[in-house]
Symmetry: C2
Subunit: 411 residues, 2 copies
């Protein structure tokens, strides 16, 4: 077997841009004079534990295939929600994983994911240091939530923001047609940070001032003030449109939700119902026509409306990961620095993984208005460049043409 080789995997929730980062890694390896084969582990670290690999250098030898991968939503390699144990408690998965690395001649492992995936990068890096392995462990960021530290913004966020803003504008057109008072509540993803909900403000243009109210998890939600806000808006216009984060909480920290909460493997509360809860509040207290809309998974997988800027930056961060590994960097995550807004310019760098894993970056207080029901102009300045440009999606038989992912849906 020719070597050294490298390995890549994807983890966490889908985005429209995570395959662009995968394409960037493959492109980086294809151009590399160091690495021979790029293995893709199927379903995150589970793919290593199950020895389930795809030879990506072979699969994507044709540039057209790599191009198609860039605009395919969700994970070509599949995902997992798998939290590795502390190696001091149980080192058996680590022993197995590093045995696999040795067997396949792996000199670098790239993990594309969000907060929880960076926890895995940290643990693998710590274990590598402990056993004196020189395998480079590199995190490549991805999350629609935009809540990772040490980077200006995250791959996948710009595309989700573009979808949310476009959907909000279309919902506004849909809502404005009736000459009767109405309230429309749009519930947007974002458990702990309001970046996605804030991006709904990008729907505003020369004729559309919706969303008229924006509620973020960063500001304590007050039911009485909310009803005052809605009444004031209804006195000014017929159709009030409200963007609300699924993660809004009251001043005691309790989620504004009408449904029971469950807890996932990482200890996060699984939320639903913020939009529905506000709908009921308006119905009971104001009595106008009211509807709530949950954008749901479409905000993270609508690749047909991806941001070109996001896809290009995601690709570049995949390539950067390969370059960093060739420089001998390990225990790090690729990051993006914003150099200027006019013109929009960025540079790529890396940050130590210890500074990133398991934290969530929220919106700065000064980017939210004083009443806590809208964003401040600085926020718009930050968001606008990230949604520019449209993805080059091709269509076949009337629907988007994406990469074949039949290898994922096994019985």
């Amino acid at each position: 077997m020719k070597q050294p080789n490298c390995m890549v995997a994807q983890s966490g929730g889908p985005t429209a841009a995570i395959n662009a980062s995968l394409a960037g890694v493959v492109s980086g390896v294809l151009a590399s004079s160091r690495y021979h084969t790029c293995y893709g582990a199927v379903n995150g670290v589970l793919g290593i534990l199950n020895e389930n690999y795809i030879d990506l250098t072979e699969t994507f030898a044709e540039p057209a295939e790599l191009e198609k991968l860039k605009s395919t939503p969700a994970m070509y390699l599949g995902s997992c929600r798998c939290k590795l144990p502390d190696y001091k408690d149980d080192d058996s998965p680590y022993v197995f994983i590093f045995h696999q690395f040795a067997k396949l001649g792996i000199q670098a492992f790239f993990y594309i994911g969000g907060n929880d995936s960076m926890d895995t990068v940290l643990k693998l890096s710590d274990y590598a240091a402990k056993i004196g392995s020189d395998i480079r462990i590199i995190g490549i960021p991805k999350t629609i939530d935009n809540d990772l530290y040490a980077t200006d913004h995250t791959p996948g966020f710009g595309s989700a923001a573009k979808y949310i803003a476009s959907a909000l504008l279309e919902i506004a057109h849909d809502t404005f047609i009736y000459a009767v008072k109405s309230v429309t509540i749009v519930e947007i993803m974002g458990r702990d940070a309001g970046w996605l909900t804030a991006s709904s403000a990008l729907a505003r243009n020369s004729y559309n001032s919706a969303p008229h109210l924006i509620y973020l998890p960063e500001t304590a939600f007050d039911r009485k003030r909310f009803l005052e806000d809605v009444k004031k808006q209804l006195s000014q216009r017929n159709n009030v449109i409200i963007a609300v984060s699924e993660g809004i909480r009251d001043k005691t920290g309790s989620y504004i939700t009408s449904s029971k909460s469950a807890v996932d493997d990482f200890g996060h509360k699984q939320l639903s119902g913020a939009g529905k809860t506000l709908e009921l509040l308006v119905k009971e207290n104001i009595g106008v026509k009211v509807r709530s809309i949950e954008l749901n998974v479409l905000q993270r997988c609508s690749a047909h409306l991806a941001s070109k800027t996001d896809l290009e930056e995601s690709f570049a961060q995949g390539e950067k990961g390969v370059a960093l590994s060739e420089e001998g960097i390990t225990a790090a995550m690729v990051c993006i620095n914003r150099i200027s807004n006019h013109p929009y310019t960025v540079s790529y760098d890396h940050a130590p993984i210890q500074s990133i894993a398991n934290g969530a970056k929220t919106i700065p207080k000064q980017w939210i208005n004083d009443r806590g029901n809208d964003i401040a102009p600085e926020m718009l300045e930050y968001l606008t460049p990230l949604i520019q440009g449209e993805a080059a999606v091709s269509y076949a038989n009337g629907i988007p043409s994406y990469m074949n992912v039949s290898h994922l849906d096994h019985a």
Copy 2:
């Protein structure tokens, strides 16, 4: 005042193509040697009752503006849900409307809408006949539901079908990433007819067999058989995706819904919760990971993903309405006949309004499979041509660029 003139209005629920029909009417009038001005009544017949008009021949004098109107979602002129009384009970609105027609020199009135709007066309036609008016009253069809008689398919349906199929494919990509058993239920609009839900089958391609089950209002829904279907699918694959109409009913005709029903002005039940009801059924009886997604209003207003075929046909039907009025036709609806599927060819015609108003065309039994959990191949043959081609949407500052509709959102 130069005359004769004509008037157009829009009514019912939004579609991504109803403004293409409006653009067709304006284009027909601009090219006409008969009509001078095309008035647009704002908010359907309410616009006439309130004397709220826009001079469309002036507003859309520039071809670029008319082009932009074609791809703008929902109603540029606004809508209403207004049922005119029987003129034998109360002729006062009719007297007012025909007085307005006389005052503005109106010789033709075009009403773009669905079932309920065709009821208005019928009533205005009957009243015109009774008073001996020669004003031509022409219906131009529109409904995402595709449930109008006397026409092969309705403007707006193809774009909604394209959105549903594309969203289903992206949801499939989103769902396939986890190697654990899951059920995803997608609730689709369509109160009495399953055309929209059936169009989810257009998401199937060389690697994607989702949706794996399709439940339509045309087939009595049986909870026990549904659970059998889901279990069988789960034995064959990890991730089962189900398309379900909001209007599914059991054999007694009761809606499968967990929420209370309300009744709108036309006596239709307002439904919600079919998807949520099936989600709970699966959760309680099968116990795998389950999620329900409501496509909601996005399936009717996502103009950024409109079908080019639909937009072109909708435009042509607007122009046809003007041509029919010039031929002296009245009390009629424009319709479309399918001449062949290979190549896809249509012709435009008209049908007497009596044959159309207030009925709902459902899917023929032979286009549904025997078990009632999928469509038959004939249905796919019918649907496929309608979603072909992509709308030419332009973007400004990262979001779609549509016509200014600020005239609709008044306080």
